[in-house]
């Protein structure tokens, strides 16, 4: 069967004439609406805010005597470096995303492991139950979380009624609330890729390890864990990268001190209407994430092609 398939690959591909009709529409669409926008953001990050529509100066323009004119200012980037808010927000976002990812990994690994070891019939049900919240509104789930962790919310009411505490925990509008929000929202993204790699793991390898006298603990550390590294990295990136840029969670659950970069960008844009500075924040932010995104792409492509 396999040999037959690979042989026909060498034969002339019957799709050949029409294949650009299939390739080009998504390629062009994504190029125009996903990639080109970064070029515009890059360009506008060198403009100046101006009271007009759209609210920034032209970087490239034609003068009256048909000369191409380039007006570039580095002021926005200089502003990012001098105003402390940005540095603090970048660092705070990276730190929050890092620790959230770590906690997601610690919680998600045992969950993925348990699902992968469950009998096939329960497995599908467990995956459905795990993914169902992901299908329901992210915004509403974050909002629902407020009902739990508010000073007079579900958690504090229960603990007070049970007499376990005498003062309500103050969680809302603190960094803890942001952590809870991110972990709660992104946990499924950690579990799924982990499950995918753990499920593919050949159980005979573990049997071989135990036949050769290794304890289950050793077998886990020497066999399961190293083989699940691609899943760990994919899951970590799926949590870390969006978490760094998270806006809804710090905005709804966090306080004024929990200044994440997504919020700063939002305020710069909607509050100050300074589009060029907002563009510069976005570009600087993207450079910061280039490494993690490249790692994610590398592992993802390898996993899909495998």
């Amino acid at each position: 069967m396999r040999a037959g398939t690979s042989k026909s690959h060498n034969m002339k591909n019957p799709w050949r004439p029409g294949r650009w009709l299939i390739i080009l529409p998504p390629l062009i669409f994504l190029f125009v609406f996903f990639l080109i926008p970064f070029a515009f953001a890059f360009k506008i990050s060198f403009a100046e805010a101006a009271p007009r529509v759209p609210p920034f100066t032209d970087v490239i323009s034609w003068t009256a005597d048909h000369h191409l004119q380039l007006r570039v200012t580095l002021g926005n980037y200089r502003y990012l470096l001098t105003d402390q808010v940005y540095g603090v927000a970048y660092l705070y976002s990276l730190r929050t995303a890092f620790f959230s990812t770590l906690i997601c990994l610690l919680l998600g690994y045992p969950m993925a492991y348990a699902i992968a070891r469950a009998p096939k019939s329960t497995q599908n049900l467990l995956l459905l139950v795990l993914m169902l919240p992901f299908w329901t509104s992210f915004l509403l789930r974050v909002y629902a979380l407020e009902g739990i962790i508010r000073d007079n919310g579900f958690l504090n009411t229960m603990l007070l009624r049970l007499g376990l505490i005498h003062q309500p925990f103050h969680i809302m509008h603190t960094g803890v609330a942001v952590y809870i929000g991110i972990i709660y929202s992104y946990l499924p993204f950690m579990v799924l890729p982990l499950f995918a790699t753990l499920e593919k793991l050949d159980p005979t390898l573990l049997e071989a390890a135990s036949d050769l006298g290794s304890t289950p603990r050793r077998a886990f550390l020497d066999v399961t864990l190293p083989l699940s590294i691609p899943g760990v990295i994919a899951g970590a990136m799926l949590v870390f990268i969006p978490a760094v840029g998270e806006f809804v969670i710090p905005s709804l659950l966090g306080g004024p001190n929990n200044l994440m970069i997504g919020r700063v960008l939002w305020d710069e844009f909607f509050g100050n209407h300074d589009w060029p500075v907002a563009s510069a924040v976005a570009i600087a932010f993207l450079l910061l994430l280039a490494g993690p995104i490249a790692i994610y792409q590398y592992y993802n492509v390898r996993q899909i092609e495998a």
């Binding site: 669409f29 299908w135 329901t136 915004l139 909002y143 009902g147 990136m237 976005a282």
Partner: protein, 265 residues
Amino acid sequence: MLFAGISILYLPILVLIGYSFNASPLVNVWGGFSTAWYGELMHNRQLLQAALLSLEVAIAASTGALILGTLAAIALVRFTRFRGRLLLTGMVNAPLVMPEIITGITQLLLFVSMLQLFAWPHRGFTTIVLSHVTFCSAYVTITVQSRLQAADRALEEAAMDLGASPLRAFMEITLPIIAPALISSWLLSFTLSLDDLVISSFVAGPGASTLPMVIYSKVKLGVSPDINALASIIVCAVGACVVTAGYLMVRGDRRRAADIRLAGS
């Protein structure tokens, strides 16, 4: 551990549904069972208008994303070598992790610049749909791609050996096999589009407000009981759709597997 983890995922939603039936507008006081907040929703014009816009956007965007994403998946699975393959792979995967806030602002800048150059597109329905198609098609491609990879190429080749054109072989053999993935990725795109706040806020412009934008501006001011009711409706409706679709897909797969076994014996 697993059950604790999963039940914690559901607790906030259950508590929210509970609150939505609270007669008292105060969150910490139980004023008895009431469906008043659900009735109030029906009279909120702003909310209804936003819901209608969101539904229209979601239908248009998920259909567009289904077409583009499926084409991209076919290209990536079937054509192992072509110019631009790496670029397409990158552009399909990047939106999955790209922070929405970056996608939102960069796309807005594109639309504004395009409007200056070509006098199109005006901000509103069109721009929201275009940007939703962009990120939804990435989810479609990933879902369809894995299904397409699992599909047995030999069946399609057999059809072509028997004289079917590649298009006909694809339509009659492969399309039914990947149909569950198409349905689930359309549904996923639909819910993602319906839910998007950040990207829509950037590209919508001053005239248009989608449902999440209205919800966000209300929620930002504090807890509002009618949003609890609305949230309960959305969560239950989406949950019911997904469970039904999942059930139908599993059943379809089982039937197909049975057919194949039967044909093989």
